[in-house]
Symmetry: C2
Subunit: 413 residues, 2 copies
Amino acid sequence: MNIVRIAVLASGDELLNGNISDTNTRDIARLLGPAGYRLNTALCVPDNPEAIARAILALIPQQDVIIATGGLGSTGDDLTAKTVAQALGRPLEENPDALQMIKKRFSDRELNPQVLRQALMPQKSVPLPNREGTAPGFWLRQQGCDLFFLPGVPSEMRSMLEQAVIPALKRSKPGGVPLIQRDYGFFGLSEPQLESRLPYAKFPPEVEVGFSLDYPLVRLALRSASIDAEQKLDEAEALLVAQLGDYLVERADQTMAEHVGQLLRHAGLKLTLAESCTGGLISQMLTRTAGASEFLERSAVTYADTAKIDWLNVPAELIATKGAVSAECAEAMAAGARAAAGADLALAVTGIAGPTGGSDEKPVGTVYLALAAEGVCQARGYKFHGDRVKIQQMSAYMALEWIRRFALECLDT
Amino acid sequence: MNIVRIAVLASGDELLNGNISDTNTRDIARLLGPAGYRLNTALCVPDNPEAIARAILALIPQQDVIIATGGLGSTGDDLTAKTVAQALGRPLEENPDALQMIKKRFSDRELNPQVLRQALMPQKSVPLPNREGTAPGFWLRQQGCDLFFLPGVPSEMRSMLEQAVIPALKRSKPGGVPLIQRDYGFFGLSEPQLESRLPYAKFPPEVEVGFSLDYPLVRLALRSASIDAEQKLDEAEALLVAQLGDYLVERADQTMAEHVGQLLRHAGLKLTLAESCTGGLISQMLTRTAGASEFLERSAVTYADTAKIDWLNVPAELIATKGAVSAECAEAMAAGARAAAGADLALAVTGIAGPTGGSDEKPVGTVYLALAAEGVCQARGYKFHGDRVKIQQMSAYMALEWIRRFALECLDT
């Protein structure tokens, strides 16, 4: 296998002073993998000519390709072109193709010296068009190493990488076998539980497994760089589904909420929600994706008792005797919401998300969900841990999980 | 000023194969700055003994301190201790203090060889307790360089850095002047607009400014490493507030929604929401923080016309003649929601978030907001750009902005 050694070099004070996290490295890896390239290192340095020059000169003999991000543009801290020109002993000159790119983007009125500065590049650079922003990137070769200089703004970087860098790289240094990656999200198992139940031994040896946490989900990635990667991943995925399909709630680009929405549409079920402690979170998750109006006509956020009584027809005496956070209240909310909305299915949540409002009997994290449908009205009690946001998230995912299983059952019968 | 050269070294295949982004570097910089330390470089390498060893050996002569993350623990790819031992020629041995830390954390039953492996450290290491997880970190000194090895899990890393690393570092290599940072979020101005209106010239020269985008907000950080940093930052902040205070919606740890909630509580205003295209997003933002029940008794997500008619008392003929996405419908939703909830203030949103549902007359991005209060019922129309999620976010922030200005006016009079 042809291994091209590729490093990412990010320059920017904001990456080292705590202002922002570098997300470009992940995006670059994601886009390069399927094209047959891997990253072997990533380096962040400040916006400082000496640090940038030192890093470039150290990387050139070690790497086949350097993808540098940041420091292009027209403001004072955009000093990459000048620094590279000096470090590599190539005079900075106005690149006529880059000038054309800039002129195409700006009106005559706006073409001031600051804007035109963006056409200055080290001698023998190839400019790379920027479809999302103003500053062109550039590509040059030094001692056999291909150096690509891209903007630091993520959307501009990604577009330039896809449109200009990968095609250039393929001509200059053909990649190896593509790295194909598939992503899955599991709900209801901890990372150790998931790991211990994975049928590793049966997986094709060409498939690698990676975990990451994304509360309350556990994410799993299957990766393969085999020539028949898709087939090997199909085999591993089939084992995964057979063994753990019950907990598999997200795939590739479909979130759990999108999946639940799809199931509801397929099952032809109209849903309504009555949210107390989740405050609209479940509705928001389901309506983030297009098509929600096909299954969700309305939802209620009923924080106060009066709202539960008015809109959901929860008996005042039930709240007085059992409390608003109780299985009985959750059931009454679900049944009332279903009737009010004329929906097939209603899901209600009531609980104590904290940090205050807990008691010995009902501590923070006490949450009741209830589901009402034709001939069914059932509550479940939970005791969740963590801070307010985690309790809300866990409640919302648990609600989606219940709706998911209900819709699957409807589709099954 | 005493400058301690500090590098972060993150090891992990998942950081280079596109699985996750490194967020530890940002957190480390945030925690070290106020203690008087800065990062000068950050490096990511794969889970590969050679790559880790090469990076450590290259960094030791260049740096005063190396903070390494990842590769601790008890699974197969946790190979940092062994790799460091080999690279530095220090035999791996069972550290009695580390063993104590592990025994304290596990029951006798769980103390299997895999768990006990976490007590193996290079000779002359000082173990660092892990309050959030199982694997202790370790600290050693080589050729005058302090090397700290921390877990890669962000919560474990942060806790160990605060509790153990920073105190050790302060004794070993006193830091310089603290870097104090203050964060602000602006709504309603683009980054270039914000930049051009900043009173840079009047800012104390000891204050640095940094921007970042966090749609739909523009974030600004003021930083100072002056001995009287707090005073210089106060001066800069006063100028910022005088010039741009109208657009300043977030500070430090208070989100815009939290700020709006606080204003509503101070003004003693009860709010209700009627959300169509935002699907619960505004409610969710306001209820994410504790105390929402003091001002929010209920909200309605009314996607379907029938829901607007039933719950909000919007006249069916108004929807038939003007359409559900219209200034008139938004006003009727706000007025109806206010009456239904008995609230002081109601805010309604109706619009086309897309990607489908647009027309020539009302394209995707057409959004109407309306506010109803005592003697007021007013709608505003917008044309937002971007995908569905961006249109929802922009609508929600615009709604919060209107509520914020209304509450401020109430507090003023």
